[in-house]
Amino acid sequence: MTNLELQKIAVEVRRGIIDGVHSAKAGHPGGSLSAAEIFTYLYFEEMNIDPKNPKDPDRDRFVLSKGHTAPGLYSTLANRGYFPVEDLLTLRHTGSYLQGHPDMKHIPGVDMSSGSLGQGVSAACGMALAGKLNGRDYRVYALCGDGEIEEGQIWEAAMFAGFRKLDNLCVIVDNNNLQIDGPIDKVCSPYPIDKKFESFNFHVISINGNDFDELRSAFAEAKATKGMPTAIVARTLKGKDISFMENSVDWHGKAPNDEEYAVAVEDLRKVGEALCQN
């Protein structure tokens, strides 16, 4: 896929995020939007997956360790064909299968239930280890928040992955620099993120996580890296492409009202229109 095609899909992914969170009147748009290019690149370009066969034992796996950004994952899965895009409007509604946080038992394409921060990389390690033990050559991707890596279990898992040389594992840190209580370097700084992962025996790649060229080259480098897991520290913009949400901690976990929703839809229309003129 070309970058332009991927960029257009990312607009649709963002639209699904906004539609879902607006309909739910709750949820986490900021960190879903910051990771839209990461979700899009993984599901439309990088991962070996088949929406018609979501349980294929040889498929690549994805664990959304920052499970509160489920709207981003769901929108990507829907746009990729795992379930109808219209269902995004049932997000967080009573009786909907689209639970507030990823539920592997009921959502096609969700490889691991998550939501309680810090736990996803461990599960991804288990999947990667299973691949090694079974001689299957699938890859495992885990997406963490930059605030999330304040959780100690992340580093237990990193120690395990580095020690066991799980080179089929790629951890991505969505480094949008904001957590609920403020900028991550003002709350309880996890910086330097790259050096931390390096010291846990990861190959580390630092990129602009909203840029498809950089994502393409980073994931290719990760795949080519043998003998150690890779961490991609992806610098991103929280709330990206929604004018009033960009780089705003207020939009971590809040839904837009009807007026704000109209502005957001218009923002995305403009982004899409600009892409069409390319």
Binding site: D103, M104, K105, G118, A123, G126, A130, L133, A157
Partner: protein, 316 residues
């Protein structure tokens, strides 16, 4: 009673894993630097590729097991009950319980019979914690035979299972050739008319001995072994309530939320019956040799018999 050598159920756990490991290639064992104590060493020696030492990091071990299970492995997590149910409670709940993954938790060193290590390592709350998780099966076997059968049943069961084992070597009771283990089925070990003593884990043997002491005092006690605390055998408990009209529960666990709690829930909702919960009375344990502690906390045969007699209004 058996002439077999007493054995700690943690040893039974390791031995059962070794047997099952030969039969099932998808069985995998995880430890957190305690393989020597959880007795999984025999498995590690036989199947080094299927033994994963996660180091002193129980939360990660729990999540790794969850991930392995999504790829077709049947992981047995092994560590002390304090860390399996305590340290990793939330990982067990959210990474294993919520997605109902096929992970087995082998929790050794439960209860005050840990002994000398003292209160920090004597988990008395694990049954309460684990039984509150939807879909979790909780098994507390009473001897070597039952423990090995429980591990086998846990493997065969599709879903999360918490297995509670002890450090102290205890007598083997279930030595009959027709012994059968079924998850969720209580075992009537001794018939009696006056009172029902429902026990679990290492307290089962002590309770049987207590029943003999009580018989000498003219109290005809029946003894039930509840090895599966969840799902609990309601039918057997209600039948016992109907028959004897008086129930005691005996466990090496807090009286809050364990076997006593589970039996109280059944009785109070379905057949209100006078119940006395014998266990650790909402206090932490302490250091000391295991048998001395069981005596001090009145969880040995003598202590159990004394308490039953006292509660029934007899002379101590």
């Amino acid at each position: 009673m058996s002439e077999l050598k007493p054995m700690a159920t943690r040893e039974s756990y390791g031995n059962a894993l070794l047997e099952l490991g030969k039969e099932h290639e998808n069985l995998i064992v995880l430890d957190a630097d305690l393989a020597a104590a959880t007795k999984t060493g025999v498995f590690r020696k036989a199947f080094p590729d299927r033994h994963i030492d996660c180091g002193i990091a129980e939360a990660n071990m729990t999540g790794v097991a969850a991930g392995l299970s999504t790829c077709g492995f049947v992981p047995f997590i092994s560590t002390f009950a304090m860390f399996a149910a305590g340290r990793s409670y939330e990982q067990v709940r959210n990474s294993i319980g919520y997605p109902h993954l096929n992970v087995k938790i082998g929790a050794t060193h439960a209860g005050i019979s840990v002994g000398e290590d003292g209160a920090s390592h004597q988990c008395l709350e694990d049954i309460a914690l684990m039984r509150a998780i939807p879909g979790m099966v909780v098994i507390n076997p009473a001897d070597d035979v039952e423990a090995r059968a429980a591990v086998r049943a846990a493997y065969a069961y599709d879903g999360p299972v918490y297995l509670r084992f002890g450090r102290l070597a205890i007598p083997v009771m279930n030595d009959s050739p027709d012994y059968k283990f079924e998850i969720g089925k209580g075992v009537l070990l001794r018939d009696g008319r006056d009172v029902t003593l429902i026990a679990t884990g290492l307290c089962v043997y002590e309770t049987l001995c207590a029943a003999k002491m009580l018989a000498e005092k003219g109290i005809d006690a029946q003894v039930i072994n509840i090895h599966t605390i969840k799902p609990i055998d309601e039918e057997m408990i209600l039948a016992a309530a109907e028959k004897t009209g008086r129930i005691f529960t005996i466990e090496e666990h807090s009286i809050i939320g364990g076997l006593g709690g589970a039996v109280a829930e059944v009785l109070s909702e379905k057949r209100p019956t006078k119940l006395t919960r014998i266990g650790v009375n909402d206090v932490f344990g302490e250091s000391g040799p295991a048998k001395e502690l069981l005596h001090k906390y009145k969880l040995d045969a003598e202590g159990i018999a004394e308490r039953v007699q006292k509660e029934l209004g007899g002379t101590a």
